[in-house]
Symmetry: C2
């Protein structure tokens, strides 16, 4: 897949010649399907962004409390990341060197804003701790999700994609510590 | 600083010529101080690793419960990351293309093992939830810490380095959710 070659060599460092060699098809065959290398990049980035926005759409349209919709968004984003790992990896590495990358970064910021809005709403509902700035909370939350591209690989024997989504939500929403103190306080 | 140029252009994409131009000093001046480009890389990576291992040393030598030492390690690692941001960024991007990078990756794995051991110990103490695999917990914890290089910049007006360390510990150990249910249960 072209996206794998982009991830290995970097988009800038990959020529249509490289793609043709690695994919084992002629350059003219590639050009039969796409007009340019940048169009391939756009298709790959959209595959990640469309998945994330589908989940964001569910989260914002759905009923229920903001914290539940936020949890749905986190769980769904982990699923998209696990399912479309090379595409999300490419998206997270985009630095804005081309018009296509800049467009993708704009959509990424829109997505981040949806997360930040949900965090702020959940905080207003009294469901999320108010001692951390909502914008910082949103960044930490998706920093945690996005960090998965560094080590998670499909078929990981230690943890499945859905168990991973559970683990991320457990850590982020409930924390690692077993809270004895609260129990003691109210005993 | 050489490390900034490495981060911008990638280590492989940076020549001594590039460094000389960007630093405004002659190549012979650079060679007066270091034997090679790879020696510069080793110095930069050590600056990150030495900081992280100093904190790990405190965490493993210190008394107290494992969860407290783990929290010290997380807080200290955020401080090192904020203080030595370009060096830690370079370390996190190292992929093992040179002997120096491979050596750094070996040390990084040693550091990760210290984290994983502390998590396992805290879980045995009954201080950390046992429903997430300790190795996964360790990866999530430092995935969260390492994700800071993507957005945190020194002088960030929204949050100081020490407030950031607090926020990371709060989210990771105590979670975002305000736990009404526990209070209700024991009421």
């Amino acid at each position: 897949m072209a996206v794998t070659v982009f991830n290995e060599r970097g988009y800038d460092g990959t020529s249509m010649e490289d793609l043709s060699r690695r994919l084992g098809i002629s350059k003219s065959s590639i050009y039969y399907h796409v007009g340019s290398k940048e169009e391939l990049l756009a298709l790959a980035l959209d595959r990640a962004l469309d998945g994330l926005f589908a989940v964001a759409g569910e989260a914002t349209a759905g009923g229920g409390r903001a914290i539940e919709r936020l949890e749905h968004l986190v769980r769904g984003s982990v699923a998209v990341l696990a399912d479309r790992l090379p595409y999300v990896t490419l998206l997270l590495r985009a630095r804005g060197n081309t018009a296509t990358e800049r467009q993708a970064l704009t959509r990424r910021r829109e997505f981040d804003q949806i997360v930040a809005d949900l965090v702020a709403e959940a905080e207003k509902d009294g469901d999320i701790r108010p001692d951390v700035d909502p914008a910082v909370t949103a960044r930490l939350l998706f920093g945690l999700v996005n960090s998965l591209v560094e080590w998670y690989r499909p078929g990981n024997r230690r943890i499945s994609a859905s168990a991973l989504a559970d683990a991320v939500c457990t850590v982020a929403f409930d924390g690692l510590r077993i809270r004895r103190t609260l129990r003691k306080e109210s005993a």
